[in-house]
């Protein structure tokens, strides 16, 4: 078992999608505990990839390749996870997008990829997303979080408008809001009444993990 966990971890670090999928299938075939394999195997791997990225040891391509391998493994394991006691509840749902007027996609996609790789359900609305679309989608999906990216100082006020709209629709109590993007900061998040600020994809995962479920 310990060896299997190590292999799962390493397959993600190596960005080996094929191997990750194989190991996930093996997990099911051998009847190994799914939650444990995810938590102490695959998730350890993606966490290490995230750490190396933050340290500047790895870059965007390696991060994306690692996350893709993670997604491959999760696609195999997710159905099994849903039948596990406590498995379903652990997973939060995040609605994510780049705010209207802003077409910057990279950071947002990265956050979405890492959230999905860590087992969250993610609805990625893309870029240039209208304020109302964030709110409607979150309500429709029963989302736990809305994650709003803004890369321009001119589009940042849109993040505030999402929160205002949630309040106007009396939905603010149901969903948490995180903001991110180059010009954003902790101060900006607290100024507009967001629940958190994430400076990068790793921080976004930590934020959602810390406050969901």
């Amino acid at each position: 078992m310990k060896e299997h966990l190590g292999s799962c971890r390493q397959a993600i670090i190596d960005g080996d999608a094929e191997k990750s999928e194989e190991l996930a299938k093996l997990t099911l075939e051998k009847g190994m505990p799914v939650l444990e394999v995810i938590d102490r195997g695959f998730v350890e791997g993606i966490r290490e990839v995230g750490r190396l990225w933050e340290e500047g040891e790895l870059f965007l391509p390696e991060l994306v390749i690692g996350a893709d391998a993670m997604k491959k493994a999760m696609a195999v394991l997710r159905p099994a996870l849903e039948s596990v006691e406590g498995g379903q509840d652990r997973l939060g749902h995040v609605v994510i997008g780049t705010i209207e007027g802003d077409i910057h996609d990279i950071g947002k996609t990265l956050v979405a990829t890492m959230l999905a790789a860590n087992g969250f359900e993610v609805t990625d609305l893309g870029a240039d997303v209208p304020v109302a679309k964030f709110v409607e989608t979150a309500a429709e999906k029963g989302a736990d979080w809305i994650a709003i990216s803004a890369l321009l100082t001119t589009t940042m006020p849109g993040q505030k408008r999402v929160i205002e709209r949630l309040e106007a629709k009396s939905l603010r109590g149901d969903v948490k809001v995180m903001v991110g993007g180059a010009p954003c900061s902790e101060e900006w998040a607290s100024e507009i009444g967001a629940d958190g600020y994430a400076g990068d994809a790793v921080a976004a995962v930590a934020l959602v993990k810390g406050q969901t479920g």
Binding site: F59, I103, D128, T153, P183
Partner: protein
């Protein structure tokens, strides 16, 4: 010989500063692409180019950073304008501003930014699509009468290479190529992991006459990069940092850096081996004027 390269051999050249932040100051709104103003408000662009020239810029850049067909399709909400016409027009406006100044002493750079899309595995952009888009833009800028090409804010060296090759297919004019880098624990890198070593090797080999870096970093953060790149190549170097980090105040972006401090930092880059300097986001004609005063005292 090309006048720009001759001038670069004789003295340190001063490029202009930010365009987007200048346009925002006079009313560019959310969801409007800055490039569209070449058609909507040519008077405003003529005024900005003129202000940079009056401040002492030797080189001005066309308002075409995001004017490839790929980027325009994403950034223009109400339908993208004709790519070629937009680029020609932007070059013409800048050329008109230059007309007031002595010919051969000031130069027009045709500005080319990234497509905004990624090659696999990050995205689905193909090499052909990138090359075609850059070629279309470069051909129009050439037609509009630019003196050189400035390929800038490139985060993927592979995309920069496609832009260089595309320009070479339609023009013999000098190519300047700037990557945009962050400072990591192990040194300067683009988000794709491209290093100054790689930039010095590949961009020069592909035919860039001048290489350098712009955006992402503040002037203070870019000084060491200038020294590092000088140690890696004999090619002329250009650096265009941002005016510090933007801060939000009352819903508006404020760049708090002092033009004098910025200009001092640019002079440190010149001491470290830069052959040309200028500004990026948040810089204004005041920043260029402050730098001009220092260069003239050299």
């Amino acid at each position: 010989m090309n006048g720009f390269l001759d001038a670069l051999r004789e003295k340190v050249l001063l490029f202009d500063g930010g365009m987007g932040s200048m346009l925002i100051a006079v009313g560019l709104t959310d969801g409007e692409a800055p490039e569209e103003w070449s058609i909507k408000r040519p008077d405003v662009l003529l005024d900005i180019h003129t202000k940079y020239l009056e401040a002492g810029a030797d080189v001005i850049q066309t308002n075409t950073f995001g004017a490839t067909s790929i980027k325009l399709a994403a950034s223009c909400r109400d339908g993208a304008p004709d790519t070629a016409a937009l680029n020609v027009r932007a070059a013409e406006i800048a050329r008109q501003a230059l007309g007031e100044f002595i010919a051969g002493s000031r130069f027009l750079a045709g500005d080319i930014g990234p497509t905004g899309e990624f090659f696999p595995p990050m995205g689905t952009l193909s090499v052909d699509a990138a090359r075609n888009a850059f070629r279309e833009q470069a051909a129009a800028l050439e037609r509009g009468g630019v003196d050189l090409f400035l390929i800038e804010t490139m985060y993927d060296i592979s995309e920069a290479v496609e832009a260089i090759r595309a320009v070479r297919e339609v023009s013999d004019k000098p190519i300047v190529c700037e990557l945009t880098m962050e400072r990591k624990k192990k040194g300067y890198f683009t988000i794709m992991g491209d290093s100054p070593e790689k930039a010095a090797e590949i961009l020069v080999a592909e035919g860039a006459a001048v290489i350098g870096a712009n955006c992402s970093l503040t002037s203070g953060e870019m000084i060491d990069l200038a020294g590092e790149m000088r140690s890696l190549t004999d090619a002329p170097l250009l650096f265009q940092p941002n005016a510090g980090k933007p801060e939000m105040a009352g819903g508006k972006a404020i760049y708090r850096q002092d033009p004098e401090e910025f200009a001092d930092d640019l002079m440190k880059m010149v001491e470290a081996g830069a052959n040309a300097v200028g500004g990026c986001c948040g810089t204004t004609p005041d920043f260029i004027r402050a730098t001009r005063a220092r260069l003239d005292r050299m």
